[in-house]
Structure formats: C-alpha cells, structure tokens
C-alpha cells in the first residue's frame, strides 16, 4: 500500500495540472480575502477576521477538480489500463488514490488557509487594526477549512471513479455546487443544511443562520465522503476497462 501511495504522489508531482490548479486556487484565495478589505469591512471587528480566513473556502472547487483528475484523468489518457495491470486488485489502487489525494487536498487547504492568513495579517498591519489570533474561533476556522479541502479532494477522486469521463465528472460536480444544491436548498428549507456542500462549509465554523454546527457538519460531510468512496470502490472492481 505504501508503494502504491508513493506512486500516486509521484504521478501527481510529474504532471502539470496539480501545479496549475494550486496556483489558480491561491490566486483566487488572495483575491477573495482582499475583496473583504476593499469592500470596507471593519477590520477592528473580531468577526471580520474569521470571515477573511473562511474566504479560503469557496476555492474548494479547485481541490474537487484535482480529485476528479486522479482517476478520470487516467481514463482519459488510457493509463488506467497500465495502472490496473500493475495492480489487478483495483480496490487497492482506488484506496491509494483516496489516501494520496486526501493528503494533497490537505496540503492545498493548508496553503490556501495560510494565504488567507497572510492577507489578514498584512491588511490588519497596514490598517493598524489590532489582530487577535489567540482565540479558539480563529483556529477552528482554519483547521475546519483544511479538513474541508481534504474531504473534498476525496469526494473528487470518488466522482471521477464513478463517472470515469473527466468532462462529465467536472460538469456534474460544477452543476451540483453552482445550481442543483442551491435549488434544492431553497426547496428543502431547514433540511437543506444537511446537503453536501453546505455541510462542508459548516466545517469552517463561521457563525451563520441555517448552517449546521461545526462538529455536526464535519461528521455529515465525512459521511458523504465515505459513501462516495464506497460507491467508487464498488463500481471500479466490477467495471470492464476497455
């Protein structure tokens, strides 16, 4: 298993897409967090600090796409055959990818959160506003964001394994986050808090009405990741690769 995971990490390092996605994600985070400063939010308000840090969250789309490329990218390039030839027990391949990309999502989340933190510290210093980073709330928001990204990447790997077509996978993922879930949210009312993306956002622990508490949201989002992973393992072992 160790070999398989390090092999997946080698594949990640030797292709360009992850680096491009990472650069794009960090740029988006810098822009989103700077936007709060520019829009004139009160930097002296402690709630603004958490809002700024949480603005690393919407960039999860890049992590989702990264996860999708893990398996669907191999189907597109045809390298999935060689991968399964080397490891005929396909569940081990998928498991290795889930773990490796979970780790990659963690790193992406960490770098995004640190970027958000950097902008926060810089803007407060420039404005001469006091910044209290020693509160629990600040750290739960940052840790929650990192966990959110790691689980998102795992879900991405699973989506790519289930649909195998990279275009269809990304299309479905974007349609879900941008359209389907928001529509369902307005239909479901209070129940809408339990939908995947919203339970994921709950991990960021930003005080908002109509969102689950952090721990509950985290458990729900992890449960979604688990269901997706099991589905991916099941369909992959039964599929004809031709």
């Amino acid at each position: 298993m160790h070999t398989l995971i390090s092999n997946e990490l080698l594949k990640l390092r030797t292709s360009r897409a992850p680096w491009i996605l990472l650069a794009a994600q960090l740029l988006l985070v810098l822009a989103a967090v700077s936007g709060i400063v520019i829009s004139g939010e009160d930097l002296r308000n402690a709630a603004t600090t958490r809002l700024m840090l949480a603005h690393a969250g919407p960039s999860f789309i890049f992590v989702l796409v990264l996860g999708i490329t893990a398996v669907a990218g191999e189907y597109r390039d045809g390298t999935i055959s060689d991968t399964f030839l080397a490891t005929p027990r396909r569940s081990r391949v998928i498991l290795a990818k889930l773990i490796a990309y979970g780790g990659a999502g963690l790193v992406f989340g960490l770098l995004s959160t640190l970027s958000a933190l950097g902008v926060t510290v810089f803007s407060h210093a420039v404005a001469g506003a006091p910044l209290d980073l020693a509160t629990t709330d600040v750290w739960t928001t940052m840790a929650g964001t990192v966990a959110f990204m790691a689980l998102t990447c795992i879900i991405g790997v699973a989506i790519g394994s289930i649909f195998t077509n990279i275009g269809a996978s990304i299309g479905v993922a974007l349609a879900w986050t941008a359209l389907i879930e928001t529509t369902m949210y307005s239909l479901l009312g209070d129940l809408g808090r339990w939908l995947p993306v919203l339970s994921g956002f709950a991990l960021q622990n930003v005080p908002q009405p109509k969102i689950l508490p952090q721990l509950t949201g985290g458990l729900v989002f992890a449960a979604y990741a688990l269901v997706f992973a099991v589905a991916a393992l099941t369909v992959t072992t039964r599929r004809d690769v031709s």
Partner: protein, 316 residues
C-alpha cells in the same frame, strides 16, 4: 515456462457478442500471431487475458493462473495495449519511473530500458511530442520492465516504419529464443508473417485457424533445386500436384513448405529455395476472415450474381 491458455472464452457487451467460445494456446519459446480484421474480438480477448475485461464465461490462464491472481503480475506478464496511453505532459523518463514504481524495479532499470528501445535521447521530452513509433517503443519499454516470461502485445507493429518493424522482429525473436511466450495481435498478416511462428486467426469472435504459417499457406509452395525432375517425381508419387515453372523451378500445390522440405530431405535432394507463396497466405487469411477486401478479380461481380440468381441452372 508459461503458456497462455484461452479456454472457451466468451464475452458479451450488451447485445454484441465480441468473443464467442474461443480456445487456443500460446506456447513458450514461440511467437504466436493473433490475427483477425478490426472488430474481430482480438483486443477484447487480450484484455480478458489481462483481467481488465471480465469474461461472460470461460477463462484465460497464464502459467495456470488467472492474471488477477498473480502476486507480481508485471514480473510474469508484460503487456502493451495502447501505445497512446500516456499522460501527455509527462516526459518519457517520468512515465517509465511511474511504471517502475508499481512494477517494483529501481530507476536504474529505466535507463537500461530507454537504451534498449532506443529512446535515450528523447527521454526528457514530453510524450505529447512523440511520434506513434516512439509511443510504441515507450509502450514496449513498459511491457519489458519486469523482465516478464510472457509478452502480450496488441498491434505492436502499428505505426512502425519498415526499419522499426525489422527492429521489433529482432527484439521479439531474441526474447522467444530465451524461451519466453509471445502473443502479438495484428489485423495485417503481411505485417507479422515474417515475425511469427504460429498464427491464430479469429473473425466475429470465433476461431478460424490455429496452426503454423506453413499450414495456413498450404496451397502453393515454390521450390528451386538442381534436382527438379527427381523432386517432381518424388512429390507426384506422394500425391502432390507439381508444375515445372522454369529450368530449376517447381510449383507444388496442395502441400506445405514443411512437407516439401521433408520429401526433399528423404530423397537427399538439395534445395536452393523453398517458400510458401505469400499471395496464397494472404488469400487464405482473407478467405478465413470472410473479408471483402480480396484483391480485385477480373470480373468481381460475376460469381456472386451467378450464385444468387434463381435462374442459374442446378448443377447436374
């Protein structure tokens, strides 16, 4: 020594029967050519052998084991299925490094393989810039990585220039001589007829022929010998049809090159040339696969029209 054994293999994709009760063996130390027109079921058969496609019924055993039950499959079987199956942004060397990792061999093997398939100079370029022939060489390097006893190659000559095909022939001949089992597919008999020892021909998923090239070409054998008259008599006595085509040349019908050679040896007649007519090999292949691409006959429309016309008088 590992034999590849296809046993009553059947694969159905929805309503399409891709492989239909196919059985044959690829023995060690030989190159078996697996032939058939496009869509005959070759790739499905090879993918079933490699555990990528799940057979509807039947099985494929490699050295008595199913591929997916081999503990270190890449050390036993090397496969080339699709030469284009590479991540376009990766370099040739990185592609091999990725494969070396899962094969369980070190990076030093990568350099040796690059040398062996003559890609050392292009190793650090992205594979998106490789030609089809270079992709084939890279794919062969992957197949050879685990130093396997069995090689399964799908259309390995595709995209190679004549020099490349000659190189491939030499490589495969050498590997077979070491006792390895080699199974290569092609939709062109002419592409592999000088490489393979045995041929298996399928069409519409069913076995059409399984034997040596000499048996396939059974039909016309050309002989050159100083002892033409003596050989003609000997062959005629054994029931073969012999035509004298030149001062020292015979054409034997209804025989294989093996049979003619044996007769000559029995009669102690020296031969200067003994060949199976290539055209007859090609014709046999086309006949077996029911291909419509038979070289144009002088009046191609006449015979089908005659056989289907109700006005044709019954033979009597």
């Amino acid at each position: 020594m590992a034999t590849v054994s296809i046993e009553s293999l059947t694969k159905r994709f929805g309503r399409v029967l891709a492989v239909d009760g196919l059985s044959f063996q690829a023995p060690p130390g030989t190159i078996t050519g697996f032939l058939g027109p496009n869509g005959a079921g070759k790739t499905t058969t090879l993918r079933s052998a490699l555990g990528l496609v799940r057979p509807t019924s039947g099985r494929v055993l490699i050295d008595q084991h199913r591929y997916q039950d081999l503990s270190q499959p890449r050390r036993v079987v090397g496969a080339l299925l699709d030469p284009g199956a590479t991540h376009p942004g990766r370099t040739g060397r990185d592609h091999l490094r990725v494969m070396a990792g899962v094969t369980g061999v070190g990076d030093s093997r990568v350099d040796a393989l690059l040398e062996q398939v003559d890609l050392t100079e292009a190793a650090d370029r992205r594979v998106s810039g490789y030609s089809l022939g270079m992709h084939q060489r890279l794919g062969l390097a992957v197949a050879l990585m685990g130093d396997p006893e069995v090689l399964i190659l799908d259309e390995p000559a595709n995209g190679l220039d004549p020099e490349g095909i000659a190189w491939l022939r030499g490589l495969l001949r050498g590997l077979a001589a070491q006792g390895r089992t080699i199974l290569i597919s092609s939709h062109l008999l002419s592409e592999v007829s000088q490489t393979v020892d045995r041929v298996v021909i399928i069409d519409e998923g069913r076995l059409r022929f399984d034997g040596t090239l000499a048996e396939l070409g059974s039909g016309t054998v050309s002989v050159r010998t100083a002892g033409g008259a003596k050989l003609r008599d000997a062959l005629t006595r054994r029931g073969f049809q012999v035509a004298v085509t030149g001062t020292a040349a015979l054409e034997v019908r209804g025989a294989t090159a093996d049979q003619v050679g044996q007769v000559a040896a029995d009669e102690r007649i020296g031969l200067s040339e003994l060949t199976t007519d290539r055209a007859s090999l090609e014709a046999a292949f086309l006949r077996l696969t029911g291909s419509s691409e038979i070289p144009a006959a002088p009046a191609p429309r006449r015979s089908p029209a005659a056989s289907t016309s109700p006005a044709t008088p019954a033979a009597n």
